[in-house]
Symmetry: D2
Amino acid sequence: MRKVYSLQIEYPEQTREFDNRLTKTGRRSLSHSLSHSSTDSNSSGGSDAEDPENEVSPRDKQRMNSKGNKDFCIKNIKLADFGRRQIELAEDEMTALMALRKAAQGEKPLAGAKIVGCTHVTAQTAVLFETLSGLGAQCRWAACNIYSTQNEVAAALAERDFPVFAWKGESEDDFWWCIDRCVNVEGWEPNMILDDGGDMTHWIYKKYPHIFKKVKGIVEESITGIHRLHHLSKAGKLCVPAINVNDSVTKQKFDNLYCCRESILDSLKKTADIMFGGKQVVVCGYGEVGKGCSAALKAMGSIVYVTEIDPICALQACMDGFRLTKLSDVVRQVDMVITCTGNKNVVVREHMDVMKNGCVVCNMGRSNTEINVSALKTPDLTWQHVRAQVDHIIWPDGKRMILLAEGRVLNLSSSTVPIYVLSITATTQALALIELFNAPEGRYKQDVYLLPKKLDEYVASLHLQTFDAHLTELTDDQAKYMGLSKNGPFKPNYYRY
Amino acid sequence: MRKVYSLQIEYPEQTREFDNRLTKTGRRSLSHSLSHSSTDSNSSGGSDAEDPENEVSPRDKQRMNSKGNKDFCIKNIKLADFGRRQIELAEDEMTALMALRKAAQGEKPLAGAKIVGCTHVTAQTAVLFETLSGLGAQCRWAACNIYSTQNEVAAALAERDFPVFAWKGESEDDFWWCIDRCVNVEGWEPNMILDDGGDMTHWIYKKYPHIFKKVKGIVEESITGIHRLHHLSKAGKLCVPAINVNDSVTKQKFDNLYCCRESILDSLKKTADIMFGGKQVVVCGYGEVGKGCSAALKAMGSIVYVTEIDPICALQACMDGFRLTKLSDVVRQVDMVITCTGNKNVVVREHMDVMKNGCVVCNMGRSNTEINVSALKTPDLTWQHVRAQVDHIIWPDGKRMILLAEGRVLNLSSSTVPIYVLSITATTQALALIELFNAPEGRYKQDVYLLPKKLDEYVASLHLQTFDAHLTELTDDQAKYMGLSKNGPFKPNYYRY
Amino acid sequence: MRKVYSLQIEYPEQTREFDNRLTKTGRRSLSHSLSHSSTDSNSSGGSDAEDPENEVSPRDKQRMNSKGNKDFCIKNIKLADFGRRQIELAEDEMTALMALRKAAQGEKPLAGAKIVGCTHVTAQTAVLFETLSGLGAQCRWAACNIYSTQNEVAAALAERDFPVFAWKGESEDDFWWCIDRCVNVEGWEPNMILDDGGDMTHWIYKKYPHIFKKVKGIVEESITGIHRLHHLSKAGKLCVPAINVNDSVTKQKFDNLYCCRESILDSLKKTADIMFGGKQVVVCGYGEVGKGCSAALKAMGSIVYVTEIDPICALQACMDGFRLTKLSDVVRQVDMVITCTGNKNVVVREHMDVMKNGCVVCNMGRSNTEINVSALKTPDLTWQHVRAQVDHIIWPDGKRMILLAEGRVLNLSSSTVPIYVLSITATTQALALIELFNAPEGRYKQDVYLLPKKLDEYVASLHLQTFDAHLTELTDDQAKYMGLSKNGPFKPNYYRY
Amino acid sequence: MRKVYSLQIEYPEQTREFDNRLTKTGRRSLSHSLSHSSTDSNSSGGSDAEDPENEVSPRDKQRMNSKGNKDFCIKNIKLADFGRRQIELAEDEMTALMALRKAAQGEKPLAGAKIVGCTHVTAQTAVLFETLSGLGAQCRWAACNIYSTQNEVAAALAERDFPVFAWKGESEDDFWWCIDRCVNVEGWEPNMILDDGGDMTHWIYKKYPHIFKKVKGIVEESITGIHRLHHLSKAGKLCVPAINVNDSVTKQKFDNLYCCRESILDSLKKTADIMFGGKQVVVCGYGEVGKGCSAALKAMGSIVYVTEIDPICALQACMDGFRLTKLSDVVRQVDMVITCTGNKNVVVREHMDVMKNGCVVCNMGRSNTEINVSALKTPDLTWQHVRAQVDHIIWPDGKRMILLAEGRVLNLSSSTVPIYVLSITATTQALALIELFNAPEGRYKQDVYLLPKKLDEYVASLHLQTFDAHLTELTDDQAKYMGLSKNGPFKPNYYRY
């Protein structure tokens, strides 16, 4: 059986992408906000800058927390107090998750759950981690990214006896070693997987496939990870149920529409630093991201053109007051080109050749291929790096095109994710774990599921309190008239919101 | 077998609703616009006001058109020229349908189709009627509403030898007689049904069930009709495929979001005639209709509160900048209450008792029960009818509440449907007929289907030209990258737009 | 001296315009709203349709009210009760004026004032009239328009012994006779003039110039009247101070920006009945009216182009997100052309020749000359009147242009003025009268003044309560820091708002 | 006479403020944008980091440019090439000024002008400087701020023989020495002053008052400088005409409305890093800045409350859809408090005591006193500096308030000024200099003037080209009808835009 699974991981595109996943902060996954202070306050708060601890690899020196516990591997346990403060700040902001923690505390819905987790290790995920624990679960944790760990947060978790294996600046070997330490421990048989990118799942498939006999389910957050799960499923090799939390309605709306509506402005200001009023902009693609970008720029006084391939989205653009054009028809006149298509080669050299001087070009989409940047690496063009995320590409006649983030997804690098969005993700993950762990036999097959709508609604309802928002409850009579349960779900699955 | 079907129609709620359907213009189904001139120009153009023809019931006097054809039953054939002008004006505006007519003319995709239709008989449906005919179909037509027929349009159709059976002011008996004349003709076996309200389908089920053996499908446009089809389907009695055109994405967006965004303002101005700026408004329900109403009023400077039962829609309201409250928490302070829930008893007497003087109350939803109007018919309250669609309800202390349209759906009566929306409906109907008629054996079972997404996209694309909008085409390379066909469909079925 | 003044009135353009002023409802001066019921409820409420009173000219038959008073001339005293209800409804809505009435009642700031008024005679002006009276003034009143009088309101005033001389459908001779009856009465020497159009002022200048010796001031509301006053002033013939209430900040913002933002949508729906979403529109002129129209249409999803002659307003249009073009550059592609310039011949035949089929053309400006309609009265074009306010002009090739209100100011005829705007006007008039009547010797010279900013602010503050809006008060310390009085004025005169 | 002037400078508030002016970058005066590369590219481009030149004070070592010229005093002439590139980039963006340079080049309208200037010395002001020179002026230049000079730009100017006296990091003594070197040179008698802050003017008044005999005028840009000029004028000591360029319409709209509409979002993201959607915000003050902030936040989905003292602005807030409240009525519930009043102590301790946890407080106004920060410096509160511009103030119960920029004007420090706004300022300055220099005797008295409207319009028109915006020209006939010149001015002075 092991053989079967080990075959699974050898498809080449995953190998190729590996470095990417490890060396880059994943899409919209990190936040600052209150607890951002971690970075800046290091000096005053808990700097590890000159600590000798920092010289040694965590794997080479076993640390012990104040209670004598050694079942963790982190950079510097001395940062625990500072990290605890970060976690407390994050708790203040992640009110939905805290409300869930409080609400479900009595029931301990995760009593008996043994979770192996692989996510970013930050103040926000620490709140998730401790919530799962508060609901009865035992957890072991590794980082899904070699650079994103907040060492002080890892220290705070370790100090509280959480088995966490993560530090900032892991090597690839460290990365897999940490994951292995979560799974492969004497006397520990995980029965739930929480994954972000699919690496934990992959590792278990590869090394310890027998574990799946006991696993009740996988909760996966990233597009990549979901893609891998669907791959397994299609190949008939997925042997436990999985919940795709990425595509829940609430999470999607925030990740794409609401988040990008703000981050497009933020990212453009931080990089190109242009005034929006009166500028002509073309937004390529009118999905949720394109809708958010277009609305924001219009509100700031830009004149926005939209391109689309899908006639329905195109008609929406028209009704929202945008001129629908082909890129080639407006590319000469616009001041900015923003791609939000998920497609490749949307902006190509022949477009860039005719842009006017000073045109800003950037990518808000999902892949890094929307702008054909490689076509700009020709001897006739001069690249001038003017500041972080900003390059000028200069044509022989002196025309400059301003390329942001070298054509990579802009708001990944230049804007932070609002903690509110992280809170939605974490709450969704917690509910998905509870659902899979407690689902009666037979509710879920060996397949990839979306979060049940009722839970999706519950995530939303937990987040309403931030806005001091008050839901109306159906009367018995109304519920009957509508043919609904008073507790939801309130909409059919195909409802478009 | 006949018996089986005849049972079908006796469920009481349909009987009760019958009068409603017949005596009231259906939801958002009539337009003026260019061709609206029909009404006003009657006097100059083709008045039938004092024509002796008008004295006689159409059923009592057989008319003949100029070619000697008598296979129709209408009010006054002399109005044909005037009606033809109306149809021509409608053609000018229904460019999408005309484009379809032109595009598919060569293929005659409906050659062999024998369609019985039951819709409003207006200039716009005449364009549909003649389009179907142009694509190869034979058609016979009756009105779905006893009041909505434009006599001059019926005349114009009759003059061109279309078998049309409809006039303004039919009796209930006339209504069924007309329908029967469409179906029950020597040598005619219909094989397609185009219905709006389900009466044609109902009649055939009741009287001529054998016809269904030859029928390739039903295309139904109204919510009521679809409800009846689902009822049949659940009961296992639907014996042909049906397409629900009402719930196609394109149609829905226009019917609800785009149309209501405009008609809420229009309807309120025409009735309550209030200034929107600075007014406090509560919108109950944040579905598509509520989203449209809220956005429009916000844009006009109103302060909008929203109530919701569904946490996801509620969170959308928050992110769109509306305070989410319970009705009872703001009802004392608002200047307007607008219901868009589809539910009943959303506004009840106890809300109305505490509203401030001059508060305007209206219903933009689907049913007429959202405002509990019957609770206002008590001896302590005085009703004062101040003008069409406007009543003042006066409390003993002199407080006035301004009730619009007696609580019935407001924009049905006080606003017209943009011809653009009618064009979307008609184009959707035509494509659904073509699809069902040409579908290979087995594609559709005896069930109710949504319009295939590809056709939904085609409807949208035909309407883009009105806006001089230009779609982008995928390159081969891009299509492959996205895993899409270059001609669509471009989105999975669950895509939320 | 009489001779001097009589010369004044003979300038020909006023004579020419006379008919216009008399036969047309003045710019934005009439409202319906609550009290609009007057028109519709006539039948049930106080119909004068078949009353024999209606046959006789009011001048031919002296009426008497229930107290035996005969000092008035109106159509039908029996309508008094019905009219009183209208006035009461208007009082409910004109809360600002009622608040002023209440606030100043004790002081009687108009005690001793003898006002001759010439305005529309409607429920709203009746509230003004009775307010002035409540503040101590004696008044005599005539209509400024031969058609706009609400007979039932005039009756209600007469029944309360107000000397009012006005009826609907006066002849020109009646018009001047009524005005004369206000001025020329034994034992009555007016000392204040409240005018709307300048006719009362004109008549006194012409016939009774000696009266000006006692007159403390003129309050004029209309642009025409102000123009006439400036004319007098320039010619050195204005012998009393006058306040131009039309140009007060508060009134201007409402008349132009806020009112037109709503009435453009309302007027277009009522006439052309088009859908706004996705439509391309050019707005000519970006003053307050143009700003209101552009913002409203943009909010409804139209794509708006703007034309301007003034570079500053043009730059505002750019920053507000509108493309600034010349009319000739976009006139081929737009679906609507809206003029708001105050200029003439903005849209000329050569523009109209190239418009696309179905283009809607209308005028929201001040004058009726913005669209060169006379250039459309050529033999090659066919005019088709399709309904009230809507004409189709048909070119030889079949192209239709849709002309609204025959090019006259659109919202005058197709939209009502919100009562809120009327309330601002009336309150401004009342405060201007109080100011002029009580101003110490020397504050005002023989010139035309704007309303003092402090009073302008007071008008605004009286209207804030409608919105349940709460002003902040300066602390002593803050007032000192800002160099302001705590009661205003808060801004220098040149402040741009 | 000298004595008289020297008295002038001794009023204490100026002395007190001196440090402020010198040590802080002035309000909205610096930009990055294209030419911002200066900072970041230093390393690659023209780093002076390790240059021995940097050790020596510029005053201690006379430099010489490549042509042997020594009439300047700057940090490091070697940076000239790098600075020239910055200037060229700025020229690319300051198209309006470049257009003016080109348009007026032939006429040399400043031939004979001898200008002493005191402004920031940046790439943008260098473009102004060289434009004045191109139009015929001789200029000598000093910095108005001891920190804001771009050394490479000063070098580039010096290399072209411009007498510039400025470097980054001047001492106070250096500051006045540089100014003196501009004025006090053998054989040089300045006849125009271009000032930003009033220091040049002040120095000449103090030291060389005789110079004013030849001075044709002063052009002043800053609020402080204008305040000083008005002070002189009131005291009867202003002996030449001055133009206040700060209050020109075009400049004001950009400085306040358009710039703040964008910078509020930018500044909040860069500092507090919060999500705007759904947040409740109170904006104190609804002038241009408040209008910009409110509109931007509303567009991002915030629920905005407004406070005002002026009833007219308050009514505008209502009509724009904002609830008008007192701060104390909403301060408990809001997520952000933004002051834009220009007043002091708008937010005081008692407000801050009741704010909810996590409330963000910031100042977008003109003065640094709007938030009473000193009241927060009490022993019971803990200040925690979390990152640049962000402090947490912690109450004994653990509540945190997030204070931005320590209550100082937020967008000064956290947002850059769009180069477009700088271009408007520079163009306005150039036109004001031309106007004063060429004005016929008697047009300007010894007073402070606003820029003539015609020039204000010209500034706007020069900036329209950036937007590819096309003005309409009046026909002769239209100009006559409107009583306007075809070249403007198009509006009366009191026009409110």
